[in-house]
């Protein structure tokens, strides 16, 4: 990344569009995974991979690293990308990279020519110099990292597409892209938040509930905002309304005190309304919105569970696949199965706790809302009730004379 960011790249213009890094680095996945907060898994063709949350990929990768250490599996596959070369012919100009693969001592070299799969919208014709040094180097690094990562991956390294890629002599650009794309898909499958075909019913129900719940909270948020808006506009009118009674009282004799009283009353009600609106803005809405984030984290846990299950299932598949090659690793699969069952049990317990908390939290939130409204009306009631004697003041006196 730093290669590009240090100083302005010679051939890049800043036009507010995505930076080259984001587009061309399939390995921005790795970068961003290690820096949670960015979520830019990008396929070679430039489209972002859907990761529902960065946390999932980082945790997965972390777990994978943990796996590496635990299993003590020695790496037997090394991949390097180097030696970028520019080829110029009358028809076209292009870059190739040398891909060196070492599998259990055996080396192999092939040359890879990437096409320039910049998505239409990012093509800045004539501005992006695909042949600039920095660009080429960056691409090399990206490919290198990507391939290394895949090679290290206990699951992906066995991916058929990857193997095909490595064993092919020279890949033309279409094939290369196809393979990379397929590999990218596998990466997505493992590191992304894919829904499993076979999510168990109870967890599926949780997922559905969370989705609907989020919807409802969203609606409540919108309603609350709308109420605040309407109340604010009502408040504006009240602030104009009250003073009119004051100016009326200024040219009345008998009615002076009653009118002044009404003005004061309206003013008190205005203040009470302002307090209510502020409370809703500052207490109710933020808590509601925090809850949406809690729901998100719960959803992530569900996804994590899915990944754990996915990993187990994939490994199970791979084991079956491997059986043909007579290199079984059954302990790995068993460990995965344990992991899945633990996770599910923990999740169920977590869920119950979460439900309980949710119930309490919302009971509190909504009763709080009701309380605030009650307080508002009580303040107004007190104001108007105290006005009645002022209004009736002369009534008794007048009653005697008439």
């Amino acid at each position: 990344m730093s290669a590009m960011s240090a100083g302005a790249p010679r051939s890049l213009a800043s036009s507010g569009q995505k930076s080259i890094q984001d587009i061309l680095h399939p390995l921005s996945a790795e970068e961003s995974a290690l820096n949670p907060g960015s979520a830019d898994l990008i396929l070679p063709n430039g489209t972002p991979v859907d990761t529902s949350s960065p946390a999932s990929s980082s945790s997965l990768l972390n777990r994978l690293q943990l796996d590496d250490d635990l299993d003590g599996e020695t790496r037997d596959l090394f991949v390097t990308v180097d030696d970028p070369k520019k080829h110029v012919s009358t028809m076209e100009t292009y870059i190739t990279y040398r891909v060196c693969t070492k599998v259990r001592g055996l080396s192999k070299i092939c040359y890879f020519r990437p096409c320039d799969p910049l998505p239409e919208k990012f093509v800045m014709k004539g501005v992006v110099d695909r042949f600039s040094e920095e660009f080429v180097e960056t691409r090399r690094k990206a490919l290198d990292k990507f391939l290394k990562r895949v090679a290290d991956h206990p699951v992906l390294s066995f991916n058929e597409h990857f193997n095909a890629f490595l064993s092919a002599k020279d890949l033309n650009k279409r094939q290369g892209l196809a393979l990379l794309t397929k590999m990218g898909e596998s990466v997505k499958y493992v590191t992304g938040g894919y829904k499993l075909r076979a999510r168990p019913v109870e967890f599926a129900a949780m997922g559905d509930y969370l989705d609907l719940f989020t919807q409802k909270l969203g609606t409540i948020d919108r309603i609350a905002q709308r109420i605040i808006k309407e109340q604010s506009e009502f408040l504006m009118e009240l602030r104009e309304y009250g003073p009119v009674y004051s100016s009326w009282s200024s040219f009345e004799e008998d009615l002076h005190d009653p009118l002044e009283g009404v003005s004061g009353c309206v003013s008190n009600c205005s203040s009470a309304l302002e307090e209510l609106t502020e409370d809703m803005s500052e207490d109710f809405l933020p808590v509601l919105r925090e809850y949406v984030l809690y729901i998100e984290s719960m959803k992530n846990v569900l996804k994590k569970r899915d990944q754990v299950q996915a990993e187990y299932e994939t490994k199970l598949e791979a084991v079956v696949f491997r059986e043909d090659k007579k290199t079984p690793v059954p302990t790995d699969v068993e460990k995965c199965q344990d992991r899945v069952e633990c996770f599910n049990a923990d999740l169920k317990a977590d869920w119950d706790r979460w439900e309980n908390n949710k119930r309490q939290d919302f009971r509190q939130l909504l009763t709080g809302m009701a309380d605030k409204n009650i307080q508002y009306y009580e303040k107004c009631l007190a104001a108007w009730e105290s006005l009645i004697p002022v209004l009736q003041d002369k009534q008794e006196a007048e009653g005697e004379t008439s």
């Binding site: 309603i223 109420i227 009502f234 919302f362 009645i388 209004l391």
Partner: protein, 423 residues
């Protein structure tokens, strides 16, 4: 009541004053109400089909009710235009009275939900109430209540219009109206009337403003309440995906619906308050009209006095031969020689007559003016007391309305709170 009835029938030329020794205020003798409103269609003056509303006026003698017999009331139907005719007649005939106003012809100061359509049933209903109020006001007015045209308005369906026109009030109306519309400067208006006129201006302005802002506030309040209805729906939907929380949410939702619905009644009641204010908005106009009429009589007096003074001056000049004031006559006589003694004599004589007439006129107008000031001020004082009383009552009922609204709000939210606590 039968006594009055026969009196009317046998002596059609009774003057208004004759009734006063029989009945002080008509209202003490009879119950008056505008009981119903109905739509009619018919041909109008230009022979075109039109739809209009008629109002049923019912009258019943007070003593009959107290006897316990409760007879069927007399009734007749009247259109709004007939009410207008009655009022115009009263305005002209009793210029020193603050004549009660009619309810507005077209809906004004409406907030969005209320229809501005004259045929709208709510508008018609509020107008019915306003017309009844008008009749009761007139019937309790010391001067207006004993008017025979008013009485026949209440009791004689047919031929009433003709009777009104026969009084010839329209001729007076035209000349008076012209004068009222003309701008004239009064040198010495009665200070109290000038102040009253100013008060009428201010009252009109402030009530207009109040009604305008109130209508806008009503609109906003409507929005606040109605949006809460959305809570009802979403709580209901939400309760469907909950287990233990479901019941509490569902019932809370119902209370939110009730809260949203309650605003309709609240605003309808407030409309009644607005109508009370409107009456005094229009009363302000009636008050100003009386003050303007005072100015008119004062102006006419001043004109007559001014005319008399100038005529007296002319006489003096003619008599003494001195020309103090510039006049064309004076100039021409200077230039072309004076007139003959005979001519002068004739002129003097004419002037003398004119001065006599002028003095009579001034006397008349002065008396008129004084009479007007006296009667008008009595009615203005009466009006002031009525206004203070009525507006105070209106404010009290407004406060009571607000109290009721607050109590309802507390109740609804307490109910909702209970539901939430059971979640």
């Amino acid at each position: 009541m039968t006594l009055l009835h026969t009196k009317l029938k046998t002596t059609p030329k009774i003057e208004a004053g004759d009734f006063t020794h029989i009945v002080e205020y008509l209202l003490k003798m009879m119950e008056i109400s505008v009981a119903e409103a109905e739509k009619r269609t018919g041909k109008n003056a230009v022979n075109m089909q039109e739809t209009y509303t008629v109002y049923l006026i019912e009258t019943r003698p007070v003593d009959a009710a107290s006897e316990g017999t409760n007879p069927v009331p007399d009734s007749l139907w009247r259109r709004y235009s007939e009410f207008e005719l009655l009022r115009n007649y009263l305005l002209v005939t009793y210029p020193f009275s603050v004549v009660p106003p009619l309810p507005e012809k077209r809906a004004e100061f409406v907030w969005h939900k209320l229809s501005a359509d004259n045929m709208d049933p709510d508008f018609v209903e509020r107008r019915r109430v306003g017309l009844e109020n008008f009749l009761l006001r007139v019937a309790s007015h010391p001067d207006l209540s004993s008017d025979k045209i008013f009485y026949s308005f209440l009791t004689e369906e047919n031929g009433w219009k003709e009777t009104v026109f026969e009084t010839g009030f329209q001729a007076k109306a035209d000349s008076r109206l012209k004068a009222l519309n003309a701008t004239f400067r009064v040198k010495n208006p009665d200070k109290r009337f000038a102040e009253m006129k100013h008060y009428g201006d201010e009252l009109q302005s402030v009530i207009s403003q109040l009604l305008r802002v109130r209508a806008r506030a009503a609109d906003r309040l409507y929005g606040v309440y109605k949006v809460h209805g959305n809570y009802g729906r979403v709580f209901s939907e939400w309760s469907a995906i909950e287990k233990e929380m479901g019941d509490g949410l569902q019932s809370a939702g119902h209370h939110m619906d009730a809260y949203a619905a309650s605003v309709d009644d609240i605003l309808e009641e407030e409309e009644h308050y607005a109508d009370q204010l409107k009456e005094y908005l229009f009363y302000a106009d009636a008050l100003r009209a009386v003050c303007r009429k005072h100015e008119l009589t004062q102006y006419e007096l001043e004109m007559a006095a001014q005319d008399l003074t100038s005529k007296k001056q002319q006489r003096e000049e003619l008599a003494t031969g001195t020309i103090r004031t510039f006049s064309l006559k004076g100039m021409t006589s200077k230039l072309f020689g004076q007139e003959t003694p005979e001519q002068r004599e004739a002129k003097l004589k004419m002037l003398e007559t004119q001065i006599e007439e002028g003095e009579e006129l001034v006397k008349e107008r002065n008396a008129e003016c004084e009479e007007f000031v006296k009667s008008a001020w009595v009615d203005i004082e009466r009006f002031k007391e009525q206004k203070d009383h009525d507006l105070r009552e209106a404010l009290i009922s407004y406060a009571i309305m607000q109290i009721s609204m607050c109590k309802k709000g507390i109740q609804v939210w307490n109910n909702a709170k209970e539901c939430f606590s059971k979640m």
